[in-house]
Symmetry: C2
Subunit: 197 residues, 2 copies
């Protein structure tokens, strides 16, 4: 039997490395500020490879990068939500996880879709749809956790919406002010709100 693959295999496919590099750059500075040449460079690939895998060009790559980043954010949320049976405590843990991730990355690794989504409101159906799907899945994930704790479906869906809104906004405030405070405060207030139902 062969040795198991390394956790972060250097033999990751070129296509995967390109998508990952694009996702990171777009998360940090949005779509327009991110050049394809820089993406190729960070991915250790050439420009020709980028257009080989994404003949539709930058927009096509961006949609895939959004999906990739959204999946990683989903995993982070799931980790936080799985940390406790109490949904109020679980949401507070999500806020702590997000705050730690932001601080450890020098306030760069926030929501993977926010910056790009805001650049394309009403200007690109493909990008907007990918962003909407990401936000929708996070809302459903949160609603599921709240519903599993006995909150009615209707209330859970609305609460999930506000939890997501607050976490997204608090991330913006944290990044702009280079401080964990907004997310920590948000976590406490969201726990209080959830417990009031």
């Amino acid at each position: 039997m062969d040795a198991p693959p390394a956790p972060r295999a250097p033999a990751d496919g070129t296509r995967t490395r390109i998508v990952r590099a694009a996702a990171v750059l777009m998360q940090r500075q949005g779509y327009e500020a991110t050049g394809i040449k820089r993406i190729a460079q960070d991915a250790g690939a050439t420009l020709g490879s980028v257009y080989h895998f994404f003949p539709g060009g930058k927009k096509e790559l961006a949609v895939e990068a959004l999906r990739h980043g959204a999946q990683e954010f989903t995993d982070l949320l799931r980790t936080g939500l799985d940390s406790s049976d109490d949904p109020a405590e679980a949401v507070a843990e999500c806020a702590r996880l997000l705050a730690r991730t932001l601080r450890d990355s020098d306030w760069t690794d926030g929501c993977p879709v926010a910056a790009t989504a805001l650049e394309f409101i009403g200007r690109s159906p493909a990008i907007q749809l990918a962003s909407e799907e990401a936000l929708g899945r996070w809302r459903e994930l949160l609603a599921g956790k709240l519903g599993a704790a006995g909150i009615s479906d209707e209330v859970a869906r609305e609460l999930a919406c506000s939890v997501l809104s607050t976490l997204e906004g608090a991330e913006l405030l944290c990044r702009v002010s280079a401080s964990e405070e907004p997310l920590h405060i948000a976590g406490r207030h969201l726990a209080r709100l959830i417990r009031s139902f």
Copy 2:
């Protein structure tokens, strides 16, 4: 006595028109997607005039545009907050005002700093500082309203932070999903949270 000036004077200074046009475009699509030629065109000015008033170029204009947009957003918040003595009701009215403004503008006229701020986290001290100042003033405005209603200064400052986070995040969700729902839900939940103190 001369006739009073028109409410929206066509004789607005060229400089003011440039700043306004820049603020609108940056609010809708961020900094990088906004070209100086387009700004000049929308302002009814020439490229030469832009560089005459802003010799520092696009970045210098952007800082001024952020300040201009922030002031307008402050006025909107103040209108909402003045609508009721009850801070819970006043915050809910702010959410309604933001939702209406978004819908009436086809989801383009949201927070005037969010898109640009996210493009420049850790990459431009001037832009980041202008964004931070805007968010800080909105937080103080909200904290003042809460404090005036008898909430302790410490609690009011923290509540104001979460109110702002939630409104910012709900605006993002509204714009991406082209729906007023997230802001309406946020208004109700924020009112409930405020009344719990």
